[in-house]
């Protein structure tokens, strides 16, 4: 590539490739089962295969793609059982975070509630789809991060990637964004007003609602097993 317009974009080509493919995946340009190759994507972006290869790897261990040894990379299809599993895991981690936060003391709970409320205010403003995605991420990641366990926070970030993949594959992309924001605000308020028990309940309801809205709720009840194990 001689016409390499490398001046126009400082960020690494690998990052551009990663962002591009990820966006295409989340926006439905590539759909479940699609087979894409390094060469094709590289040509589309006007870069070489090397950074695209790197992006493929990252997307693979985030669960978006699956690279077959010498065939290409297929977009991993996501089914109801995946959605159920992800939401169950999220419930487990987020309830743990709430408990750990409560154990850190009243002041920590209050401060976290305040920070989360700020996130919610931003959520009410930003309206672009990708913006909403990002804000939802910050809200839940901050919630889990408040537990003070970086390892769990890292695990949750991994989980969130799969969450986004499911949301993208769901029937309605972000049709219920307003409802999400409202539930987020309720959780944040409960924390800020020192009612952690209610926050727990609201969070469980929120996740159940998210699963239901995604259209993947084949089985009626998400809370039973996860709820009993992490709370009772």
């Amino acid at each position: 590539m001689r016409h390499n317009a490398c001046m126009t974009t400082q960020p690494k080509a690998a990052d551009r490739a990663y962002a591009h493919i990820r966006e295409s995946l989340l926006d439905g340009v590539y759909t479940s089962g699609d087979l894409l190759s390094e060469g094709t994507v590289a040509a589309d972006l006007g870069i070489s295969r090397t950074p695209v290869r790197e992006a493929f790897q990252r997307l693979q261990n985030e669960g978006f793609l699956r690279v077959y040894p010498k065939r290409g990379a297929v977009v991993v299809p996501v089914g109801p059982e995946d959605a159920h599993g992800v939401l169950q895991a999220r419930l487990l981690l987020e309830l743990f975070a709430l408990d750990a936060l409560a154990a850190r003391g009243a002041e920590a709970v209050r401060e976290t509630g305040r920070a989360l409320l700020r996130d919610c205010e931003q959520e009410q403003q930003g309206t672009t789809p990708s913006g909403a995605r990002e804000l939802g991420r910050t809200f839940h990641c901050r919630l889990v991060g408040s537990a003070g366990n970086p390892v769990v926070a890292g695990l949750y970030e991994t989980l969130w990637n799969q969450q986004e993949r499911i949301a993208a594959a769901a029937t309605a992309g972000s049709a219920h964004a307003a409802q999400d924001v409202a539930e987020h605000a309720a959780i944040a308020t409960a924390l800020h007003e020192q009612r952690p028990a209610e926050a727990r309940r609201l969070l469980a309801d929120h996740l159940a609602a998210v699963l239901h809205r995604s259209g993947f709720s084949g089985r009626p009840s998400l809370p039973p097993e996860a709820g009993t194990s992490a709370s009772a």
Copy 2:
């Protein structure tokens, strides 16, 4: 590289590089803070930088390395708080797995106990350090996998990488392997004999003991917060 002895090993060079670096990390050849470069490792292995680069990436998102944009890759140091966080996360996930397993019915509990006992028999035989590592992994991963939630299982595999990193950095590498095996066997037996509640208790004790033996137990008590949130 003309003397490329590529005939001796069919598996991909990237995998060899990954395995080599990982082993070197776990065996203490590279220690915390070490700075290593693609070129050096490539030369050591007699391959080119490309597969080494791929290995670096994999090791980075497994938490072993941290690649600095144009400087090199440093071996991520691990401290007591990391050990605490990992063990807390393990407790959370493994207790969840136990509960989910119990919810799947008595027969599932029994069968899982049987499979875990088989793992323990193998553990008693294999004595090489890397063999013991692998068997411990299979035991705990099978335990978590028995919950029937692949997402949680995937999260746990991620966790286990960090677990191994901690074990490698711990004072005694695998001096207490026999004790581990005994505790594993106790857990498996409890499951096989349909005493899930005791299995829970044994598991919590086992993890607390692992943390203590690692030498990273700066704070006296692991169970308090994690135990209350996930079990009480």
